[in-house]
Subunit: 501 residues, 2 copies
């Protein structure tokens, strides 16, 4: 989807000369797009693209008392941002109490009894290790927090992990961008990405002059990943002169919510061995599994260790998703597995130029990997809060998938994981024509009409990639009031089909 | 300075096969440096390079009770990190109180009377605008905070500023990297950087395949910047086929601490007009002026407006320096001036891929640009805290410069600004030879010897660039106990001269 920005959102400074060229002295040329890196201009990021910008405009209008719109609130289902206004998923109290105390340690004494004793102890422990959270930390992140991450990974997988292989980051995205930047050695370098994919991958590839090598996920078998589909993509890429460098797997999937089986994971690791690919495992939704008893998470780290595979693996995790939902802190980490010391040294050097990840994100990672334990004062509340969030997500996902599946011209895999659904929609030929006339992809046309009619902002499937001739959209399962919400989706869909039948 | 990492710091996971290639199945090749982006391997960042890594090792040794070292503490004078352990510049209480309340808003009622009323009001105001700080904000940063930044700029300069031209960032560095990435259109693109420079600039140029166009600052006239020196650099660059795209000015200077006069600034703006250069103004030390009455700060934004110049200007500021020193929050902003809407739209799109700057950094920016006002409950403490920090920095800078200037074979411009001194040191020919034999730059050799002898970590001048055959080092003026500290520097210097005389 092309990103078109509304001019009203882009008011330049009121003092910018309106006709710049007529005022330029001597040889001065204005700064125009043709003087800028052309490659960057190909970057696309639909999650915050045209739809999101238009939604923001509607929100502004409503705030200013505009009553001409057919809805009274805008619902941002375009982005996995649980704590945003209108969704209001509450933060985990433990996380925020620890954070408040690290911001102003004197509080523990100034407000005695307000903080549970385990919170006070945790904040004290962190302060001793970190000093002030206003100081730069180690470029890889506070060693003590990385140690906690390593212990979390070891407990999860049953295989050891070490702090030195962990790099704390400002969310998973910067880590992904860095690794893609490192792996692209020439414009012929390519990276295998699933279709549909989270558009960070194509954006990072565009930014770093690399080629996406798309492989298709199979909607007909619950968005499964197959070795055959990747082999096909590899063969085609090679025939076009592309050198495959890495395989991206998003598990649980974004936007699909699919979860890989252990057998598929093993086959994928073997495939990486065979084709000398680095495995980039985006596992940021590992704690978003709605039927975890039936579909437990298995990490690629565990599979690589089990197989004693030498495949170089970089695994990404984040505090933005899961039940933490702390997007605004910008926290996460990646773990290097089977990476030689000189490559590790290069990663270190590159992250050191950016000095360090935000300390508030690092503290957030600590809370995620070391939550209160049974028997500790904060445990009961933590358990109640996280159970409530898990249950709400599971229930909303179930209801939404069920209702969308009952609609004519719509179908939806009921995903076991992540925060999204990715329904397929039939778009009538007349609507496809109308979209073409408007210069839009048909699913973007549908999504814009949905926004205009209901105030619900989703992301068109074309922003993630999909099979030729198919149309989808991604929406989050974060919205409270699911009955009313899905009712609006249904009503719009039926009206749309009718209008263009 | 080449970055050489100690192997002990880079312990790979204990499970990495020791002889990887002997265990590789089928066609699997290990991931080695030659399979990675070669350009990235040229990145250098001396501030966190060899010296800093060795200092960290010494600190670990001391922590483990090692008494074989000739010092009992490591002093990290390599980096402007005021709140780090051992320097312990206290954070501004107002900033941290507001931050604690935004982390856990319930505190205002749970701990009545603990927070001053203006802090409670500020936190409430921010919460109303932002919602949860655990949510992603607008990609450019919270509109309300950007409005505060625009008002701060307008009050500082006497010219209007608008929120839409402000991009909040995770510190100034990411903004600088982004702009350099945008401006480099081909490997022939060049950007004018001062010598000595802050190595972020050469690092970002290396990362984005651009050429530095070095222009010399004049140490003999207090590190002044001259148009002639830039004209010379431009002519030479053009003769080598380089296309100059932008001029970087660091004001106050890093590492020099120099402050530009308004006349020089006007001449530089005219030069940018003449040569169609974008002006990148790194103004992160604008609040670090030790004799502010004599040397007040003037922004390039003000000069550009005064001259009614059409020069495209990007100005950078940060919460990491000044009296705030909140490095760990990762907060800052850049302002676009004379930038056309389509370029603004491209900047927006690129920052949106990274979602948003950390909210704790954004809150920090708010505190910096909207400190307590006279008459408000928090004003007296804020005034006392900031005055104390300013006075300490001024006093330490004065004493250190004076004492370094009194040494044989050392001279030091007593800078009016920033957090550093950049003394010139004579290195005896025998020491130059010894350095060569050790494969080091002479000033890196000196700095390593200083670290080994005293535990003081500085950055060699070769990490910033300097005139052929001259040697310097950069040290921060952040260290308390300045008498003892500078005593160690003197003692070492004299012993070094004696050893190699």
């Amino acid at each position: 989807m092309a990103l078109r920005l509304k001019s009203s959102l882009l008011r330049p400074s009121s003092r910018l000369p309106t006709n710049l060229s007529s005022r330029l002295p001597g040889s001065m040329k204005p700064l125009t797009l043709d003087a800028l890196n052309a490659q960057l201009q190909t970057v696309q990021y639909a999650v915050r693209g045209e739809l999101a910008i238009k939604a923001e405009e509607y929100r502004d209008k409503l705030r200013q008392g505009d009553s001409s719109l057919p809805f009274d609130k805008v619902i941002s289902s375009n982005i996995g941002n649980p704590q945003q206004k209108g969704l209001d998923q509450p933060p985990i109290t433990f996380t925020r109490q620890v954070a408040a105390l690290t911001e102003w340690p004197a509080l523990a004494e100034l407000a005695p009894g307000v903080f549970p004793s385990d919170v006070v102890a945790r904040a004290k422990e962190l302060a001793e290790e970190i000093g002030s959270i206003g100081a730069y930390s180690h470029s890889q992140g506070v060693p003590f927090i990385r140690k906690g991450v390593a212990e979390f990974i070891a407990a999860r997988d049953g295989y050891p992990a070490v702090a030195n292989d962990i790099f704390l980051t400002a969310g998973a995205s910067v880590g992904v961008s860095l690794l893609i930047n490192m792996l692209i050695t020439s414009p012929e370098s390519g990276i295998l990405i699933p279709i549909p994919q989270y558009p960070l991958y194509t954006a990072a590839l565009a930014q770093h002059h690399g080629r996406p090598i798309p492989y298709l996920l199979d909607e007909s078998s619950d968005w499964s990943t197959s070795v055959e589909s990747i082999e096909t993509a590899l063969a085609e890429a090679r025939s076009q002169g592309t050198t495959p460098k890495a395989l991206v797997i998003i598990n649980p999937g974004n936007p699909t919510g699919a979860l890989l089986t252990a057998d598929t994971m093993k086959a994928l690791v073997k495939l990486c061995e065979e084709h000398s690919l680095v495995l980039l495992a985006d596992e940021v939704y590992q704690n978003n599994l709605h039927r975890a008893a039936e579909y437990p998470f298995t990490s690629f780290k565990k599979i690589v260790r089990e197989l004693q595979s030498p495949v170089p693996l970089v695994s990404f995790h984040s505090i933005s998703k899961g039940v933490s939902g702390e997007c605004g802190r910008r926290g996460g980490y990646f773990e290097l597995t089977n990476i030689a010391p000189e490559v590790h040294a290069l990663v270190y050097k590159l992250v050191s130029v950016g000095l360090c990840p935000p300390l508030s994100g690092q503290i957030g990672v600590d809370s995620m990997v070391r939550p209160p334990k049974e028997g500790e004062p904060s445990y009961a509340l933590w358990k109640k809060e996280t159970d409530t969030i898990h249950a709400a997500l599971a229930e909303r996902t179930r209801i939404m998938a069920q209702r969308l599946n009952a609609l004519p011209g719509a179908s939806c895999v009921e995903s076991p994981g992540a925060l999204y659904l990715f329904p397929k929609i039939d778009i009538p030929p007349k609507a496809v024509e109308a979209a073409k006339a408007a210069g839009k992809e048909p699913d973007a046309f549908y999504a814009l009409a949905l926004l205009d009619a209901t105030g619900i902002c989703v992301v068109p499937g074309s922003g993630f990639g999909q099979k030729e001739g198919e149309w989808h959209y991604r929406l989050t399962c974060l919205c409270p009031g699911v009955e009313e919400y899905v009712g609006k989706l249904e009503q719009f869909h039926l009206a749309f089909l009718k209008k263009y039948e």
